[in-house]
């Protein structure tokens, strides 16, 4: 055993990593629970990779076979329905945790210097997660997914100059067809995982480089914040959180297994009550609220540009609020609350 350990150590030099982890510390305060959201995202990502590989073994990304292959997975493969359900629900859990993680960082002002790059990579990871959800939604190739994808890929058309090109790039043509399905599948199983791995590697490196941020509220108490050793104290706690989340995920996946709609027909009209996934509902509702013309300009274009400006502001938040860490930043806190409230309200309104 020692010979094997020495052999591995000689080649990989893991002692530096284990030494770093042994000395790593986690601040202990009333917001410590926020640290668990980051690692929980990794748990759900891991589950999605494993279940995704299982699904990819049987899934066929062609117009004729996509829907029937998913039907086969959920009706004929042993526990295929459960694997698909866990895959689907872990995506939902992951996006929810990414949002909670980013909100926690925004409220505790952990994006400020020197953690600007961590915030940027985090927002990009949110974008990649949403892209995973969007591309994955079409893959069952049922009526609802086709209609939602038509709406979603029509959305960039409102962007001036580049809009039509972006829409064609997404659809692999002028309309959603079998080529779109192939393109979405390739993005879902190959391009996006590579992008996520690269961004995640950089994000984790930055988190280790700068250490875990201590919330401003704790810093202002002028008392040295106590800490926990990462290994084993924090890792054991984290393992407990992972176990509970895994149990919850499995239970939800069993009780609320997603169904499969009838095979999509490219010639058929869109079914009534088409709605995107919950994390796109606020955009869907915002688009519906904008009038067709505003001061003689295309209302949809203004809505899309306003949303893009909003996302741009979120991405550049560390450069907008670049004040020293000891400033409270009440305006930013208020704006984050307002943004959160309006997003939730829009999403709920869309469901009514």
């Amino acid at each position: 055993m020692n010979v094997l350990r020495a052999w591995i150590e000689e080649r990989l030099g893991l002692r530096a990593v284990t030494g770093f982890l042994a000395k790593k510390e986690v601040p202990r305060h009333k917001h410590t629970f926020l640290y668990y959201t980051g690692s929980s995202i990794l748990l759900f990502l891991g589950i999605q990779i494993v279940t995704g590989v299982f699904l990819a073994v049987y899934y066929r990304p062609t117009l004729a076979e996509a829907n029937t292959s998913v039907a086969r997975i959920i009706t004929e493969m042993p526990f295929g329905w459960l694997v698909r359900s866990v895959h689907s629900w872990s995506a939902t859990f992951m996006i929810a945790f990414v949002i909670v993680h980013l909100l926690g960082i925004a409220f505790t002002k952990a994006y400020r210097k020197p953690r600007e790059a961590s915030w940027l990579t985090g927002i990009m990871l949110l974008g990649a997660s949403l892209a995973f959800g969007f591309t994955g939604y079409l893959l069952p190739w049922d009526e609802l997914s086709l209609a939602a994808t038509k709406v979603g890929t029509n959305f960039p058309k409102a962007i001036p100059v580049l809009g039509a090109f972006l829409s064609r790039l997404m659809r692999a043509g002028d309309d959603v067809t079998g080529d779109t399905l192939s393109r979405f599948f390739i993005f879902h199983v190959s391009v996006l995982p590579l992008v996520v791995m690269a961004l995640l590697g950089l994000h984790l490196f930055l988190v280790q480089r700068h250490g875990m941020s201590i919330p401003l509220q704790e810093e202002r108490k002028n008392v040295k914040v106590p800490f926990l050793p990462f290994w084993p104290n924090f890792v054991f706690r984290e393992a407990g959180v992972w176990l509970v989340l895994f149990g919850l995920l499995l239970t939800v996946a069993v009780v609320f297994a997603p169904g499969l709609g009838p095979q999509a027909d490219l010639m058929a009209p869109a079914p009534e009550g088409v709605k995107p996934e919950w994390y796109f509902l606020f955009m869907f509702q915002a688009l519906k609220l904008f009038p067709s013309k505003i001061l003689g300009l295309n209302g949809e274009m203004i809505a899309v540009l306003a949303m893009m400006a909003g996302f741009g502001l979120i991405l550049l938040l560390p450069f907008i609020d670049n004040r020293p860490f000891d400033r409270k930043g009440r305006v930013i806190t208020g704006l984050v609350w307002a943004g959160l409230a309006s997003t939730v309200a829009m999403s709920v309104w869309s469901l009514l």
């Binding site: 086969r72 359900s85 800490f227 709609g261």
Partner: protein
Amino acid sequence: MGRPCLYGGHVGLEPAVMSERRLAMAAIAALVLLSSFASGMLETQVQTVPQAPVGPAAAKTPGQGTVAAPRPAQERMAVGVLLAWVWLSIAVLLGLLRLRVREADRVFRFGLDRAAGKTHQDPKP
């Protein structure tokens, strides 16, 4: 390994910790027995329930979605048993993790990890 342990007989907390450990072991044993009994009952029930056909259930009628729930009674039971086992295992593992967390926290509080060569600073209460 090189890490100090409270069960090693150096800190003087063994009786409390050991009794907790015994309690945890007894709880685990009881849970294992109970779940074995429950899963046995469910398996017996599976054998008596007429099995639903698997093949035709996959067929779809136009305009109607495929329901993604386990169809055959055996799979339904298996899923129930699986869920019960998963939660049971989670409960047991959480119990064990709790013991390890408490031990690790005590080791850290008494500074025994620093004695073992780590370089954490002094914790403030």
